[in-house]
């Protein structure tokens, strides 16, 4: 008994010593991403992009003279887990800042925890307008909200000659938010909006929704979903003989993966993406874009992932800039630092503007949006 108690004490002392030792050496950044579940592909890409940025920063000497250390946790594509993971990263790993949480519903679930512990989070992928408009001053977003995507789409919508559009969206904050924003823009331009159908995030069979959409007289179908569900949708649309103009939103389509897995059924589809890795020379930051893509390939990752992984890369670089600007690696300094960030990401300048209720504003950076087309198994810029 005596021995056990002494051993336990010794172990505890050792654990304490080692954790303080680590705390002195590194600055921890919590990564809250879906590594399993329906969004596993996307979350894994973002995490790998984040790792490249961290290695690059550490190779150049780190931030404030310290190395950065990523603490990666899996939110399982599940909002409940996203909140739990946020709490775990903050209370147990003591991270002063997070990157997360991919999906809008996941991010929205994590947000109350940020407020509870006063720790900032950089939002790298989520599109729902609610995220920056709900008065959470710990949220800083670099991905385009659906409204920005919809505005970027406005001039294109006219040129495409769309008369009537139906929607098929994932049944969560992301999909429903996109349907609302895009409907607004279409209606403002005299384009009729027909059906708005939804699908569960884990659904694999959408033939019922598609049969209904097939019978509609709309010429265009707007889809909001991630790559795995899009692959299934394109195959199932082909099986049902649906021949409508297809436009996808959200920037999580990984067009190369669509070409590889959906094959010829992806031909003729249009996609709104937030990064165009096929033409790094046209990126607002061509040098970094080239370096990132080269490193991504060198690590043996799938090229298809770059349209998503750049978010993790830009996210970590933004966080590092915020730590640098804040002057210290504690949550309050980093939160202040975010407002001073002014870097050029792979997808345009990253600089936060205030959004949401006065006094509790969230930060929103306004990135670029590109429209691309898959034609004969090749990806090219869409020029309607």
């Amino acid at each position: 008994m005596q021995l056990t108690r002494r051993t336990t004490l010794a172990a505890m002392a050792l654990a304490l010593m080692s954790s303080t030792a680590f705390a002195q050496d590194t600055i921890k950044i919590g990564i809250n991403q879906p590594l399993t579940g329906p969004f596993a592909a996307s979350g894994t890409y973002v995490t790998n992009g984040a790792k490249i940025a961290a290695d690059e920063i550490n190779a150049k000497g780190g931030v404030l003279g310290k190395k950065i250390e990523l603490v990666v946790e899996d939110n399982k594509s599940n909002p409940t887990e996203a909140a739990a993971v946020t709490e775990k990263l903050i209370t147990s790993d003591k991270v002063p800042v997070l990157l997360g949480a991919w999906g809008s519903s996941l991010t929205l679930a994590a947000m109350p925890k940020l407020e509870e512990y006063s720790v900032p989070m950089l939002v790298e992928t989520s599109s729902s307008g609610k995220i920056t408009k709900s008065g959470n001053p710990y949220v800083f977003r670099i991905s385009p909200p659906s409204s920005v995507e919809a505005q970027a789409f406005e001039p294109i919508a006219k040129k495409l000659g769309i008369k009537k559009a139906d929607f098929l969206v994932i049944n969560n904050d992301w999909g429903r938010g996109a349907a609302v924003e895009f409907s607004k823009v279409l209606k403002d331009n005299g384009i009729e909006v027909g059906l708005v159908e939804t699908m569960d995030q884990s659904s694999q069979d959408m033939t019922a929704q598609l049969a209904k959409l097939k019978a509609s007289d709309a010429d265009t179908l707007m889809i909001t979903a991630a790559v795995d569900q899009l692959t299934l949708l394109f195959k199932q649309m082909a099986a049902l003989g649906i021949k409508k103009k297809v436009i996808t939103t959200g920037g999580s389509q990984n067009p190369d993966q669509l070409v590889a897995q959906a094959g010829s059924t992806a031909n003729g589809t249009l996609h709104l993406v937030a990064f165009a890795p096929w033409w790094p020379e046209k990126s607002p930051n061509p040098e970094e874009a080239n370096a990132f893509i080269t490193e991504w390939k060198k690590r043996g990752y799938d090229f298809a992932g770059t349209t998503e992984s750049f978010r993790g890369y830009d996210g970590i670089r933004t966080i590092a800039a915020a730590i640098e600007a804040g002057g210290a690696a504690d949550p309050a300094s980093i939160q202040k630092g975010f407002w001073k960030v002014n870097i050029v990401g792979l997808n345009g300048p990253i600089k936060f503007e205030k959004e949401g209720p006065a006094g509790k504003e969230s930060g929103q950076s306004k990135p670029e949006v590109y429209l691309i087309e898959i034609a004969d198994g090749k990806i090219k810029p869409a020029n309607p």
């Binding site: 590594l35 399993t36 579940g37 329906p38 596993a40 592909a41 979350g43 894994t44 899996d74 049944n171 159908e197 939804t198 699908m199 569960d200 884990s202 659904s203 694999q204 069979d205 033939t207 019922a208 929704q209 049969a211 209904k212 097939k214 019978a215 795995d228 692959t231 299934l232 195959k235 082909a238 099986a239 049902l240 003989g241 897995q261 094959g263 010829s264 059924t265």
Partner: protein, 290 residues
């Protein structure tokens, strides 16, 4: 009208695989009184076995299918031999907990080996669908329906027309008497669990190429299998077959004409309705197997 026809065709194609999922589960419960919580994991296992055989080993699609089925049969026999046999005399709660644990281990194992990112299994069928008037359906789904119906028929014949089936039915009625009549009850249990597992695995191997293969794919499939079994009556093969089609029609028509957002909730609505009105299931009889 055209839309309705398309919904009906979709539901028929989907119903066949639902039935296949339900039968494996109902068979094991009916004969062994074991609630098989590894059913979803076995479905996933079948899909990954198909992926390994067809993509990693490069086998022909039609050769890979039976390979996946036999792999499921072997895994089922192993699970029964290692986990269920020592627990034969334990109560249903103990076996249930052990099976839940085994299901978690299988799912986490798949995740550990293959990672969380979904895999696609190519099929030899053309991408262009078969079009008949206003209705179109892909060849791969027609094949899946045919294969599912063939497996269901094979199971039915095995149970009602073979010596093994007679022994299985006898064991279901009274395992002590069956043992006294010279039936090797232990062997029957292993065979039953192996057959049920093979059916789940076959469903995964058939649907993996239609959809995509990922470690959590069995979760929704298992929930649907339970819905079908409750619907059709525990232990009834014809009940599970009809239950599978009822669920498919409810989902398809519910999503088409009520609300697509609640498509996967339709199954639960049916369960609640059945439990309220006829708690033993729609097709439960005193003699339940067969």
């Amino acid at each position: 009208m055209d839309q309705l026809l398309q919904h009906v065709v979709n539901a028929l194609v989907l119903g066949g695989t639902y039935a296949l999922l339900g039968i494996g589960l109902t068979l094991i419960f009916g004969i062994m009184n074991v609630v098989n919580f590894t059913h979803g994991a076995l479905y996933t296992f079948g899909a990954y076995a198909m992926y390994l055989a067809a993509v990693a080993l490069g086998l022909n699609f039609f050769v890979a299918l039976p390979v996946a089925l036999v792999a499921g049969l072997a895994l089922g026999a192993l699970l029964e031999f290692v986990l269920l046999r020592p627990l034969r005399r334990s109560d249903i709660d103990t076996t249930m907990l052990v099976m839940i644990g085994a299901g978690i281990i299988l799912q986490s194992g798949t995740l550990w080996i293959f990672g969380g990112v979904a895999k696609a299994v190519p099929t030899p069928f053309p991408a262009e669908p078969l079009v008949i008037g206003p209705v179109s359906v892909s060849y791969v789904r027609l094949f899946v329906l045919a294969a599912a119906l063939a497996l269901i028929a094979l199971t039915y014949v095995t149970i009602n027309g073979t010596k093994l089936g007679r022994a299985m039915r006898a064991t279901f009625q009274d395992h002590d008497t069956a043992a006294l009549m010279g039936v090797n009850v232990s062997l029957i249990y292993t065979a039953t669990f192996a057959i049920g597992s093979a059916l789940a695995s076959a469903a995964g191997a058939l649907l993996g190429p239609v959809y995509v293969v990922f470690p959590q794919m069995g979760d929704l499939a298992a929930v649907k299998a339970f819905a079908i079994v409750i619907l059709g009556g525990l232990g009834s093969i014809s009940g599970a077959t009809i239950g599978g089609f009822i669920l498919a029609f409810a989902e398809e028509l519910g999503a088409g004409y009520i609300s697509s957002g609640y498509r996967d909730a339709m199954g639960f609505l049916i369960i609640i309705a059945v439990l309220l009105v006829k708690p033993t299931g729609l097709f439960a009889r005193a003699e339940r197997i067969g």
